[in-house]
Symmetry: C2
Subunit: 308 residues, 2 copies
Protein backbone atom coordinates (compact mmCIF):
# COMPACT_ATOMS: atom_id res chain seq x y z
CA UNK A 1 0.00 0.00 0.00
CA UNK A 2 1.22 3.47 -0.92
CA UNK A 3 1.25 6.73 1.00
CA UNK A 4 -2.17 7.41 -0.59
CA UNK A 5 -3.56 4.45 1.31
CA UNK A 6 -1.83 5.52 4.49
CA UNK A 7 -3.14 9.08 4.17
CA UNK A 8 -6.66 7.76 3.58
CA UNK A 9 -6.50 5.54 6.64
CA UNK A 10 -5.22 8.46 8.72
CA UNK A 11 -8.08 10.66 7.54
CA UNK A 12 -10.66 7.93 8.11
CA UNK A 13 -9.50 7.34 11.70
CA UNK A 14 -8.55 10.98 12.29
CA UNK A 15 -5.37 9.58 13.78
CA UNK A 16 -1.91 10.34 12.36
CA UNK A 17 -0.04 7.86 14.53
CA UNK A 18 1.66 4.51 14.21
CA UNK A 19 2.18 1.94 16.94
CA UNK A 20 5.76 0.68 17.08
CA UNK A 21 5.86 -3.06 17.76
CA UNK A 22 9.28 -3.25 19.42
CA UNK A 23 8.73 -6.04 21.91
CA UNK A 24 11.27 -7.48 24.31
CA UNK A 25 10.24 -10.59 26.25
CA UNK A 26 10.05 -8.52 29.43
CA UNK A 27 7.45 -6.24 27.83
CA UNK A 28 5.07 -9.18 27.50
CA UNK A 29 2.61 -9.54 30.41
CA UNK A 30 3.47 -12.43 32.70
CA UNK A 31 0.32 -14.46 32.02
CA UNK A 32 1.22 -14.69 28.31
CA UNK A 33 4.88 -15.41 28.98
CA UNK A 34 4.01 -18.09 31.51
CA UNK A 35 1.70 -19.90 29.10
CA UNK A 36 4.29 -19.85 26.31
CA UNK A 37 7.26 -20.82 28.49
CA UNK A 38 5.25 -23.74 29.87
CA UNK A 39 4.48 -24.92 26.38
CA UNK A 40 7.77 -24.11 24.56
CA UNK A 41 10.23 -23.72 27.41
CA UNK A 42 12.08 -20.62 28.57
CA UNK A 43 13.72 -20.54 25.14
CA UNK A 44 13.98 -18.37 22.06
CA UNK A 45 11.02 -20.29 20.69
CA UNK A 46 9.00 -19.61 23.83
CA UNK A 47 9.92 -15.93 23.77
CA UNK A 48 9.04 -15.64 20.08
CA UNK A 49 5.64 -17.23 20.63
CA UNK A 50 4.96 -14.99 23.64
CA UNK A 51 5.83 -11.89 21.64
CA UNK A 52 3.66 -13.02 18.74
CA UNK A 53 0.64 -13.47 21.00
CA UNK A 54 1.32 -10.12 22.63
CA UNK A 55 1.57 -8.46 19.20
CA UNK A 56 -1.71 -10.01 18.10
CA UNK A 57 -3.46 -8.93 21.28
CA UNK A 58 -2.16 -5.41 20.86
CA UNK A 59 -3.28 -5.28 17.25
CA UNK A 60 -6.73 -6.61 18.15
CA UNK A 61 -7.05 -3.75 20.62
CA UNK A 62 -5.77 -1.07 18.24
CA UNK A 63 -7.02 -1.97 14.76
CA UNK A 64 -10.06 0.27 14.68
CA UNK A 65 -8.30 3.35 16.02
CA UNK A 66 -4.66 3.23 14.83
CA UNK A 67 -3.99 3.10 11.08
CA UNK A 68 -0.48 1.64 11.04
CA UNK A 69 2.00 -0.54 12.90
CA UNK A 70 5.78 -0.41 12.70
CA UNK A 71 7.60 -3.55 13.81
CA UNK A 72 11.27 -2.78 14.47
CA UNK A 73 13.28 -5.62 12.97
CA UNK A 74 15.98 -5.51 15.67
CA UNK A 75 13.65 -6.89 18.32
CA UNK A 76 12.88 -9.88 16.12
CA UNK A 77 16.46 -10.46 14.89
CA UNK A 78 17.45 -10.49 18.54
CA UNK A 79 15.66 -13.85 18.80
CA UNK A 80 17.38 -15.27 15.71
CA UNK A 81 15.43 -17.00 12.96
CA UNK A 82 12.59 -17.78 15.36
CA UNK A 83 12.13 -14.06 15.79
CA UNK A 84 12.10 -13.57 12.03
CA UNK A 85 9.48 -16.26 11.58
CA UNK A 86 7.37 -14.49 14.16
CA UNK A 87 7.96 -11.16 12.40
CA UNK A 88 6.61 -12.67 9.18
CA UNK A 89 3.56 -13.89 11.06
CA UNK A 90 3.14 -10.52 12.79
CA UNK A 91 3.16 -8.70 9.45
CA UNK A 92 0.64 -11.14 8.01
CA UNK A 93 -1.64 -10.70 11.00
CA UNK A 94 -1.30 -6.91 10.81
CA UNK A 95 -2.31 -6.86 7.15
CA UNK A 96 -5.27 -9.14 7.86
CA UNK A 97 -6.37 -6.64 10.49
CA UNK A 98 -6.15 -3.80 7.95
CA UNK A 99 -3.03 -2.07 9.28
CA UNK A 100 -0.56 -0.30 7.02
CA UNK A 101 2.72 -2.06 7.86
CA UNK A 102 6.03 -0.23 8.06
CA UNK A 103 8.96 -2.63 8.47
CA UNK A 104 11.53 -0.58 10.35
CA UNK A 105 14.72 -2.08 8.92
CA UNK A 106 16.88 0.96 8.00
CA UNK A 107 18.68 -1.02 5.32
CA UNK A 108 21.08 0.47 2.81
CA UNK A 109 23.59 -1.34 0.62
CA UNK A 110 25.07 -1.54 -2.90
CA UNK A 111 22.66 -2.02 -5.81
CA UNK A 112 22.62 -5.82 -6.14
CA UNK A 113 22.31 -6.22 -2.38
CA UNK A 114 19.63 -3.53 -2.10
CA UNK A 115 17.71 -5.51 -4.71
CA UNK A 116 17.90 -8.62 -2.54
CA UNK A 117 16.68 -6.67 0.50
CA UNK A 118 13.89 -5.15 -1.55
CA UNK A 119 12.81 -8.59 -2.79
CA UNK A 120 12.68 -9.86 0.76
CA UNK A 121 10.92 -6.96 2.46
CA UNK A 122 8.63 -5.48 -0.19
CA UNK A 123 8.71 -7.62 -3.30
CA UNK A 124 8.98 -11.26 -4.22
CA UNK A 125 11.72 -13.87 -4.47
CA UNK A 126 12.04 -16.24 -7.41
CA UNK A 127 12.96 -19.86 -6.79
CA UNK A 128 13.16 -21.66 -10.12
CA UNK A 129 9.91 -20.86 -11.89
CA UNK A 130 8.03 -20.11 -8.67
CA UNK A 131 7.56 -16.77 -6.93
CA UNK A 132 7.30 -16.25 -3.18
CA UNK A 133 6.67 -13.38 -0.80
CA UNK A 134 8.77 -13.26 2.36
CA UNK A 135 8.19 -10.37 4.74
CA UNK A 136 5.89 -8.50 2.33
CA UNK A 137 5.54 -5.20 4.22
CA UNK A 138 3.78 -2.16 2.73
CA UNK A 139 6.65 0.14 3.51
CA UNK A 140 10.24 0.05 4.81
CA UNK A 141 12.67 2.47 6.40
CA UNK A 142 16.02 2.98 4.64
CA UNK A 143 19.40 4.60 5.27
CA UNK A 144 20.61 6.62 2.27
CA UNK A 145 24.26 7.11 3.28
CA UNK A 146 25.36 5.05 0.26
CA UNK A 147 23.44 7.15 -2.25
CA UNK A 148 20.86 6.54 -4.97
CA UNK A 149 21.87 3.06 -6.02
CA UNK A 150 21.27 1.83 -2.47
CA UNK A 151 17.72 3.22 -2.57
CA UNK A 152 16.59 2.85 -6.18
CA UNK A 153 15.92 -0.91 -6.12
CA UNK A 154 13.46 -0.31 -3.28
CA UNK A 155 11.81 2.63 -5.05
CA UNK A 156 11.51 0.54 -8.21
CA UNK A 157 9.67 -2.15 -6.26
CA UNK A 158 7.53 0.54 -4.60
CA UNK A 159 6.46 1.90 -7.98
CA UNK A 160 5.74 -1.57 -9.36
CA UNK A 161 3.78 -2.80 -6.35
CA UNK A 162 2.23 0.43 -5.05
CA UNK A 163 4.36 0.51 -1.89
CA UNK A 164 6.60 3.14 -0.32
CA UNK A 165 9.66 3.87 1.84
CA UNK A 166 10.92 6.30 4.47
CA UNK A 167 14.57 7.35 4.23
CA UNK A 168 16.50 8.75 7.22
CA UNK A 169 17.03 12.49 7.21
CA UNK A 170 17.28 13.74 10.79
CA UNK A 171 16.91 11.03 13.41
CA UNK A 172 15.49 11.37 16.91
CA UNK A 173 18.43 10.02 18.93
CA UNK A 174 20.69 12.30 21.04
CA UNK A 175 23.81 11.77 18.90
CA UNK A 176 22.06 12.28 15.55
CA UNK A 177 23.78 15.64 15.07
CA UNK A 178 27.33 14.25 15.14
CA UNK A 179 27.16 13.68 11.40
CA UNK A 180 23.71 14.90 10.36
CA UNK A 181 24.11 18.48 11.61
CA UNK A 182 27.62 19.07 10.34
CA UNK A 183 27.94 22.02 7.96
CA UNK A 184 28.02 20.72 4.39
CA UNK A 185 27.63 22.00 0.84
CA UNK A 186 27.07 25.74 0.64
CA UNK A 187 25.85 26.87 4.05
CA UNK A 188 23.86 23.69 4.43
CA UNK A 189 23.95 20.59 6.64
CA UNK A 190 24.41 16.89 5.97
CA UNK A 191 20.77 16.20 6.81
CA UNK A 192 19.67 19.09 4.58
CA UNK A 193 21.53 17.59 1.65
CA UNK A 194 19.98 14.22 2.40
CA UNK A 195 16.55 15.87 2.35
CA UNK A 196 17.25 17.25 -1.14
CA UNK A 197 18.53 13.89 -2.38
CA UNK A 198 15.33 12.19 -1.22
CA UNK A 199 13.15 14.74 -3.00
CA UNK A 200 15.20 14.05 -6.17
CA UNK A 201 14.99 10.28 -5.80
CA UNK A 202 11.24 10.35 -5.45
CA UNK A 203 10.60 12.89 -8.23
CA UNK A 204 7.81 12.02 -10.64
CA UNK A 205 6.10 9.46 -8.41
CA UNK A 206 3.52 11.65 -6.66
CA UNK A 207 0.27 10.02 -5.71
CA UNK A 208 -3.10 11.71 -5.37
CA UNK A 209 -2.15 13.49 -2.15
CA UNK A 210 1.07 14.78 -3.70
CA UNK A 211 3.55 12.50 -1.98
CA UNK A 212 6.25 10.52 -3.76
CA UNK A 213 7.18 6.91 -2.95
CA UNK A 214 10.23 8.26 -1.08
CA UNK A 215 9.24 9.53 2.35
CA UNK A 216 11.58 10.76 5.06
CA UNK A 217 12.32 10.14 8.74
CA UNK A 218 12.51 13.32 10.84
CA UNK A 219 12.61 13.09 14.63
CA UNK A 220 10.18 14.81 16.99
CA UNK A 221 13.04 15.59 19.33
CA UNK A 222 14.39 18.33 17.04
CA UNK A 223 11.39 20.60 16.31
CA UNK A 224 13.40 23.34 14.58
CA UNK A 225 14.92 20.88 12.16
CA UNK A 226 11.54 19.23 11.73
CA UNK A 227 10.05 22.57 10.67
CA UNK A 228 12.85 23.12 8.14
CA UNK A 229 12.55 19.60 6.77
CA UNK A 230 8.78 19.95 6.34
CA UNK A 231 9.27 23.14 4.31
CA UNK A 232 12.11 21.70 2.29
CA UNK A 233 10.43 18.40 1.40
CA UNK A 234 6.95 19.35 0.17
CA UNK A 235 6.50 16.05 -1.68
CA UNK A 236 7.67 13.72 1.05
CA UNK A 237 5.55 11.95 3.60
CA UNK A 238 7.26 12.13 7.01
CA UNK A 239 7.68 9.42 9.63
CA UNK A 240 8.24 11.11 12.98
CA UNK A 241 9.83 9.02 15.73
CA UNK A 242 10.77 10.33 19.16
CA UNK A 243 7.35 11.24 20.57
CA UNK A 244 6.84 10.20 24.19
CA UNK A 245 9.59 8.07 25.78
CA UNK A 246 12.29 9.87 23.77
CA UNK A 247 11.02 13.32 24.77
CA UNK A 248 9.16 14.74 21.73
CA UNK A 249 5.80 16.42 22.50
CA UNK A 250 2.57 17.03 20.59
CA UNK A 251 3.60 20.65 20.29
CA UNK A 252 6.87 19.57 18.69
CA UNK A 253 5.35 17.19 16.16
CA UNK A 254 2.78 19.69 14.82
CA UNK A 255 5.54 21.00 12.52
CA UNK A 256 5.65 17.69 10.67
CA UNK A 257 2.23 18.25 9.13
CA UNK A 258 1.13 20.15 6.06
CA UNK A 259 -2.32 21.71 5.55
CA UNK A 260 -5.23 19.67 6.89
CA UNK A 261 -2.88 17.59 9.01
CA UNK A 262 -1.56 15.83 5.94
CA UNK A 263 1.76 14.20 5.12
CA UNK A 264 3.07 12.86 8.40
CA UNK A 265 2.70 10.01 10.86
CA UNK A 266 4.02 10.02 14.41
CA UNK A 267 5.35 6.87 16.06
CA UNK A 268 5.12 5.69 19.63
CA UNK A 269 6.46 2.30 20.66
CA UNK A 270 7.03 1.79 24.37
CA UNK A 271 4.42 4.43 25.23
CA UNK A 272 1.76 2.13 23.78
CA UNK A 273 3.02 -1.43 24.10
CA UNK A 274 4.35 -0.97 27.64
CA UNK A 275 1.38 1.10 28.86
CA UNK A 276 0.20 -1.82 31.02
CA UNK A 277 3.34 -1.55 33.16
CA UNK A 278 2.00 1.72 34.58
CA UNK A 279 -1.49 0.59 35.58
CA UNK A 280 -0.43 -1.67 38.46
CA UNK A 281 -2.56 -4.55 37.21
CA UNK A 282 0.05 -7.19 36.30
CA UNK A 283 -0.65 -6.87 32.60
CA UNK A 284 -4.03 -8.57 32.55
CA UNK A 285 -5.26 -5.24 31.15
CA UNK A 286 -2.51 -4.80 28.51
CA UNK A 287 -5.00 -4.43 25.66
CA UNK A 288 -7.08 -1.80 27.41
CA UNK A 289 -3.93 0.00 28.56
CA UNK A 290 -2.51 0.06 25.01
CA UNK A 291 -5.81 1.27 23.59
CA UNK A 292 -6.09 4.02 26.19
CA UNK A 293 -2.51 5.09 25.55
CA UNK A 294 -3.12 5.17 21.80
CA UNK A 295 -6.26 7.26 22.25
CA UNK A 296 -4.45 9.62 24.62
CA UNK A 297 -1.64 10.02 22.09
CA UNK A 298 -4.07 10.67 19.24
CA UNK A 299 -5.96 13.26 21.27
CA UNK A 300 -2.74 14.87 22.45
CA UNK A 301 -1.43 15.29 18.91
CA UNK A 302 -4.82 16.47 17.64
CA UNK A 303 -4.77 19.33 20.16
CA UNK A 304 -2.28 21.01 17.81
CA UNK A 305 -3.08 19.37 14.51
CA UNK A 306 -6.50 18.87 12.92
CA UNK A 307 -6.81 15.98 10.51
CA UNK A 308 -9.20 16.63 7.61
Amino acid sequence: MSFDHLQEAIIAMKNPTVAGLDPKPEYVPMHIRKECYEKYGETLEGAAEAIYRFNCGLMDALCDIVPAVKPQSAYYERLGWRGMEMLERTIRYAKDKGFFVIADIKRGDIGSTAEAYSDGWLGTTKVGESTFSSFDADCVTLNGYMGSDSVNPFLKTCKALDKCAFILVKTSNPSSGELQNVAAGNGDTVYGLMADLIEQWGAGTQGKYGYTVAGAVAGATHPDELKQIRARMPHSFLLVPGYGAQGGTAEDVQYAFQDKGRGAIVNSSRGIICAWQKTGKDGMDYQEAARNAAIAMRDDICRFTTIE
Copy 2:
Protein backbone atom coordinates in the same frame (compact mmCIF):
# COMPACT_ATOMS: atom_id res chain seq x y z
CA MET B 1 37.12 -12.98 17.71
CA SER B 2 38.83 -9.59 17.54
CA PHE B 3 40.91 -7.94 14.83
CA ASP B 4 43.94 -9.48 16.56
CA HIS B 5 42.62 -12.91 15.69
CA LEU B 6 41.80 -11.83 12.16
CA GLN B 7 45.26 -10.33 11.68
CA GLU B 8 46.87 -13.51 12.99
CA ALA B 9 44.84 -15.67 10.63
CA ILE B 10 45.77 -13.41 7.72
CA ILE B 11 49.46 -13.67 8.58
CA ALA B 12 49.28 -17.44 9.06
CA MET B 13 47.66 -17.96 5.64
CA LYS B 14 49.48 -15.05 4.00
CA ASN B 15 46.11 -14.13 2.59
CA PRO B 16 44.37 -10.80 3.36
CA THR B 17 41.07 -11.71 1.73
CA VAL B 18 37.55 -12.62 2.73
CA ALA B 19 35.07 -14.66 0.73
CA GLY B 20 31.66 -13.02 0.52
CA LEU B 21 28.86 -15.57 0.86
CA ASP B 22 26.15 -13.71 -1.07
CA PRO B 23 24.29 -16.59 -2.66
CA LYS B 24 21.22 -16.39 -4.85
CA PRO B 25 19.52 -19.67 -5.75
CA GLU B 26 20.75 -19.30 -9.33
CA TYR B 27 24.37 -19.20 -8.12
CA VAL B 28 24.01 -22.73 -6.75
CA PRO B 29 25.15 -25.48 -9.17
CA MET B 30 22.26 -27.38 -10.69
CA HIS B 31 23.09 -30.75 -9.13
CA ILE B 32 22.72 -29.28 -5.62
CA ARG B 33 19.58 -27.35 -6.49
CA LYS B 34 18.02 -30.41 -8.11
CA GLU B 35 18.64 -32.57 -5.06
CA CYS B 36 17.17 -29.98 -2.69
CA TYR B 37 14.17 -29.10 -4.85
CA GLU B 38 13.36 -32.81 -5.17
CA LYS B 39 13.47 -33.20 -1.42
CA TYR B 40 11.94 -29.87 -0.27
CA GLY B 41 10.16 -28.62 -3.38
CA GLU B 42 10.93 -25.58 -5.52
CA THR B 43 10.21 -23.46 -2.45
CA LEU B 44 11.91 -21.02 -0.10
CA GLU B 45 12.78 -24.03 2.04
CA GLY B 46 14.32 -25.83 -0.92
CA ALA B 47 16.27 -22.74 -1.95
CA ALA B 48 17.51 -22.20 1.61
CA GLU B 49 18.71 -25.78 1.89
CA ALA B 50 20.42 -25.60 -1.51
CA ILE B 51 22.22 -22.42 -0.50
CA TYR B 52 23.28 -23.92 2.82
CA ARG B 53 24.82 -26.95 1.11
CA PHE B 54 26.52 -24.70 -1.42
CA ASN B 55 27.91 -22.51 1.39
CA CYS B 56 29.24 -25.56 3.23
CA GLY B 57 30.86 -26.94 0.09
CA LEU B 58 32.48 -23.58 -0.59
CA MET B 59 33.76 -23.32 2.98
CA ASP B 60 35.15 -26.88 2.86
CA ALA B 61 37.09 -25.88 -0.25
CA LEU B 62 38.37 -22.59 1.18
CA CYS B 63 38.98 -23.14 4.88
CA ASP B 64 42.72 -23.82 4.72
CA ILE B 65 43.52 -20.89 2.42
CA VAL B 66 41.01 -18.08 3.19
CA PRO B 67 40.86 -16.69 6.75
CA ALA B 68 37.38 -15.18 6.76
CA VAL B 69 33.90 -15.33 5.29
CA LYS B 70 31.37 -12.54 5.02
CA PRO B 71 27.76 -13.60 4.58
CA GLN B 72 25.65 -10.69 3.31
CA SER B 73 22.41 -10.73 5.29
CA ALA B 74 20.28 -9.47 2.36
CA TYR B 75 20.65 -12.74 0.46
CA TYR B 76 19.32 -14.65 3.45
CA GLU B 77 16.56 -12.18 4.38
CA ARG B 78 15.43 -12.48 0.78
CA LEU B 79 14.28 -16.02 1.64
CA GLY B 80 12.44 -14.91 4.77
CA TRP B 81 12.89 -16.71 8.07
CA ARG B 82 14.06 -19.86 6.30
CA GLY B 83 16.96 -17.85 4.95
CA MET B 84 17.74 -16.55 8.43
CA GLU B 85 17.74 -20.05 9.87
CA MET B 86 20.17 -21.04 7.16
CA LEU B 87 22.30 -17.99 7.91
CA GLU B 88 22.54 -19.08 11.54
CA ARG B 89 23.61 -22.53 10.40
CA THR B 90 26.07 -21.05 7.91
CA ILE B 91 27.72 -18.95 10.62
CA ARG B 92 27.93 -21.97 12.93
CA TYR B 93 29.50 -24.08 10.20
CA ALA B 94 31.95 -21.29 9.35
CA LYS B 95 33.10 -21.00 12.95
CA ASP B 96 33.50 -24.78 13.21
CA LYS B 97 35.75 -24.62 10.15
CA GLY B 98 37.86 -21.91 11.80
CA PHE B 99 36.75 -18.94 9.73
CA PHE B 100 36.53 -15.43 11.14
CA VAL B 101 32.90 -14.50 10.43
CA ILE B 102 31.84 -11.01 9.39
CA ALA B 103 28.05 -10.63 9.30
CA ASP B 104 27.48 -7.97 6.66
CA ILE B 105 24.36 -6.33 8.07
CA LYS B 106 25.10 -2.55 7.89
CA ARG B 107 22.75 -1.88 10.79
CA GLY B 108 22.42 1.46 12.54
CA ASP B 109 19.60 2.63 14.83
CA ILE B 110 18.82 4.48 18.07
CA GLY B 111 20.49 3.22 21.26
CA SER B 112 17.89 0.79 22.59
CA THR B 113 17.39 -0.68 19.12
CA ALA B 114 21.14 -0.88 18.45
CA GLU B 115 21.38 -2.84 21.68
CA ALA B 116 18.80 -5.33 20.41
CA TYR B 117 20.69 -5.72 17.13
CA SER B 118 23.95 -6.14 18.99
CA ASP B 119 22.43 -8.82 21.22
CA GLY B 120 21.22 -10.70 18.16
CA TRP B 121 24.30 -10.48 15.98
CA LEU B 122 27.26 -10.43 18.38
CA GLY B 123 26.04 -10.96 21.91
CA THR B 124 23.39 -12.92 23.71
CA THR B 125 19.67 -12.63 24.34
CA LYS B 126 18.10 -13.19 27.76
CA VAL B 127 14.83 -15.07 28.03
CA GLY B 128 13.79 -15.22 31.67
CA GLU B 129 16.85 -16.55 33.53
CA SER B 130 18.33 -18.22 30.45
CA THR B 131 20.81 -16.82 27.95
CA PHE B 132 20.93 -17.66 24.24
CA SER B 133 23.11 -16.86 21.26
CA SER B 134 21.37 -16.13 17.98
CA PHE B 135 23.56 -15.26 15.00
CA ASP B 136 26.75 -15.01 17.07
CA ALA B 137 29.12 -13.60 14.44
CA ASP B 138 32.67 -12.45 15.25
CA CYS B 139 32.19 -9.11 13.59
CA VAL B 140 29.47 -7.00 11.95
CA THR B 141 29.30 -4.11 9.50
CA LEU B 142 27.52 -0.94 10.66
CA ASN B 143 26.21 2.34 9.26
CA GLY B 144 27.13 5.33 11.47
CA TYR B 145 24.80 7.96 9.94
CA MET B 146 22.92 8.18 13.27
CA GLY B 147 26.05 8.88 15.33
CA SER B 148 27.70 7.38 18.38
CA ASP B 149 24.66 6.07 20.20
CA SER B 150 23.82 3.89 17.19
CA VAL B 151 27.28 2.34 17.32
CA ASN B 152 28.23 2.26 21.01
CA PRO B 153 26.03 -0.71 22.01
CA PHE B 154 27.86 -2.80 19.42
CA LEU B 155 31.28 -1.55 20.53
CA LYS B 156 30.40 -2.31 24.14
CA THR B 157 29.56 -5.89 23.19
CA CYS B 158 32.76 -6.07 21.13
CA LYS B 159 34.85 -5.04 24.13
CA ALA B 160 33.06 -7.46 26.44
CA LEU B 161 33.23 -10.46 24.11
CA ASP B 162 36.45 -9.77 22.19
CA LYS B 163 34.66 -9.07 18.92
CA CYS B 164 34.78 -6.17 16.45
CA ALA B 165 32.89 -4.10 13.85
CA PHE B 166 33.45 -2.31 10.54
CA ILE B 167 31.64 1.02 10.07
CA LEU B 168 30.93 2.49 6.62
CA VAL B 169 33.22 5.35 5.57
CA LYS B 170 33.52 5.38 1.79
CA THR B 171 31.56 2.63 0.05
CA SER B 172 32.40 0.94 -3.23
CA ASN B 173 29.17 1.60 -5.15
CA PRO B 174 28.93 4.12 -8.04
CA SER B 175 26.63 6.55 -6.18
CA SER B 176 28.61 6.53 -2.93
CA GLY B 177 29.82 10.07 -3.55
CA GLU B 178 26.36 11.65 -3.63
CA LEU B 179 26.50 12.15 0.10
CA GLN B 180 29.88 10.80 1.17
CA ASN B 181 31.99 13.10 -1.04
CA VAL B 182 30.10 16.31 -0.36
CA ALA B 183 32.23 19.10 1.09
CA ALA B 184 31.65 19.24 4.85
CA GLY B 185 33.24 20.73 7.95
CA ASN B 186 36.30 22.87 7.22
CA GLY B 187 37.53 21.84 3.79
CA ASP B 188 36.66 18.24 4.49
CA THR B 189 34.15 15.69 3.19
CA VAL B 190 31.29 13.76 4.77
CA TYR B 191 33.26 10.51 4.56
CA GLY B 192 36.31 12.24 6.04
CA LEU B 193 34.29 13.35 9.05
CA MET B 194 32.90 9.84 9.40
CA ALA B 195 36.48 8.52 9.39
CA ASP B 196 37.36 10.83 12.30
CA LEU B 197 34.24 9.87 14.23
CA ILE B 198 35.14 6.19 13.93
CA GLU B 199 38.68 6.80 15.20
CA GLN B 200 37.12 8.61 18.19
CA TRP B 201 34.54 5.91 18.85
CA GLY B 202 37.20 3.21 18.94
CA ALA B 203 39.74 5.18 20.99
CA GLY B 204 41.34 3.28 23.85
CA THR B 205 40.50 -0.21 22.58
CA GLN B 206 43.63 -1.05 20.61
CA GLY B 207 44.68 -4.68 20.51
CA LYS B 208 48.18 -6.04 20.11
CA TYR B 209 48.40 -5.05 16.43
CA GLY B 210 47.24 -1.52 17.23
CA TYR B 211 43.68 -1.73 15.90
CA THR B 212 40.60 -0.65 17.83
CA VAL B 213 37.31 -2.58 17.91
CA ALA B 214 35.92 -0.03 15.41
CA GLY B 215 37.15 -0.81 11.91
CA ALA B 216 36.05 0.92 8.71
CA VAL B 217 34.69 0.07 5.28
CA ALA B 218 36.56 1.73 2.40
CA GLY B 219 35.91 0.63 -1.17
CA ALA B 220 38.56 -0.58 -3.63
CA THR B 221 36.82 1.34 -6.40
CA HIS B 222 38.07 4.70 -5.09
CA PRO B 223 41.86 4.26 -4.66
CA ASP B 224 42.57 7.94 -3.95
CA GLU B 225 40.04 8.05 -1.16
CA LEU B 226 41.30 4.69 0.08
CA LYS B 227 44.82 6.13 0.38
CA GLN B 228 43.53 9.12 2.34
CA ILE B 229 41.41 6.98 4.61
CA ARG B 230 44.34 4.65 5.36
CA ALA B 231 46.47 7.64 6.40
CA ARG B 232 43.70 9.25 8.39
CA MET B 233 42.65 6.13 10.31
CA PRO B 234 45.89 4.62 11.63
CA HIS B 235 44.10 2.62 14.34
CA SER B 236 41.32 1.18 12.21
CA PHE B 237 41.26 -2.16 10.49
CA LEU B 238 39.82 -1.74 6.98
CA LEU B 239 37.32 -3.91 5.14
CA VAL B 240 37.74 -3.31 1.42
CA PRO B 241 34.84 -4.29 -0.84
CA GLY B 242 34.73 -3.67 -4.58
CA TYR B 243 37.60 -5.87 -5.78
CA GLY B 244 36.81 -7.87 -8.94
CA ALA B 245 33.22 -7.76 -10.19
CA GLN B 246 32.81 -4.13 -9.06
CA GLY B 247 36.05 -3.02 -10.80
CA GLY B 248 38.66 -2.61 -8.03
CA THR B 249 42.12 -4.07 -8.83
CA ALA B 250 45.03 -5.44 -6.79
CA GLU B 251 46.90 -2.25 -7.60
CA ASP B 252 44.03 -0.22 -6.14
CA VAL B 253 43.70 -2.21 -2.92
CA GLN B 254 47.39 -2.01 -2.01
CA TYR B 255 46.64 1.41 -0.47
CA ALA B 256 44.45 -0.18 2.18
CA PHE B 257 47.42 -1.83 3.90
CA GLN B 258 49.88 -0.55 6.46
CA ASP B 259 53.45 -1.83 6.92
CA LYS B 260 53.90 -5.57 6.50
CA GLY B 261 50.54 -5.83 4.75
CA ARG B 262 48.72 -5.26 8.02
CA GLY B 263 45.35 -3.75 8.86
CA ALA B 264 43.10 -4.60 5.93
CA ILE B 265 41.09 -7.38 4.37
CA VAL B 266 39.76 -7.39 0.81
CA ASN B 267 36.42 -8.95 -0.08
CA SER B 268 35.35 -10.84 -3.16
CA SER B 269 31.91 -12.39 -3.40
CA ARG B 270 30.72 -13.31 -6.89
CA GLY B 271 34.33 -13.65 -8.12
CA ILE B 272 34.72 -16.65 -5.82
CA ILE B 273 31.28 -18.18 -5.34
CA CYS B 274 30.29 -17.89 -9.00
CA ALA B 275 33.70 -18.93 -10.38
CA TRP B 276 32.20 -22.26 -11.53
CA GLN B 277 29.98 -20.44 -14.02
CA LYS B 278 33.07 -19.63 -16.09
CA THR B 279 34.61 -23.10 -16.35
CA GLY B 280 31.94 -24.59 -18.62
CA LYS B 281 31.55 -27.67 -16.41
CA ASP B 282 27.95 -27.32 -15.14
CA GLY B 283 29.06 -26.59 -11.61
CA MET B 284 30.25 -30.09 -10.72
CA ASP B 285 33.61 -28.39 -10.11
CA TYR B 286 32.30 -25.47 -8.04
CA GLN B 287 34.62 -26.24 -5.12
CA GLU B 288 37.74 -26.43 -7.24
CA ALA B 289 36.67 -23.33 -9.19
CA ALA B 290 36.11 -21.34 -5.97
CA ARG B 291 39.44 -22.50 -4.56
CA ASN B 292 41.29 -21.60 -7.74
CA ALA B 293 39.61 -18.18 -7.83
CA ALA B 294 40.52 -17.56 -4.17
CA ILE B 295 44.14 -18.53 -4.82
CA ALA B 296 44.28 -16.33 -7.91
CA MET B 297 42.86 -13.40 -5.91
CA ARG B 298 45.34 -13.94 -3.08
CA ASP B 299 48.27 -14.12 -5.49
CA ASP B 300 47.02 -11.10 -7.42
CA ILE B 301 46.80 -8.96 -4.28
CA CYS B 302 50.14 -10.23 -2.99
CA ARG B 303 51.85 -8.98 -6.16
CA PHE B 304 51.54 -5.51 -4.66
CA THR B 305 51.32 -6.27 -0.95
CA THR B 306 53.53 -8.58 1.07
CA ILE B 307 52.00 -10.07 4.19
CA GLU B 308 54.46 -10.55 7.05
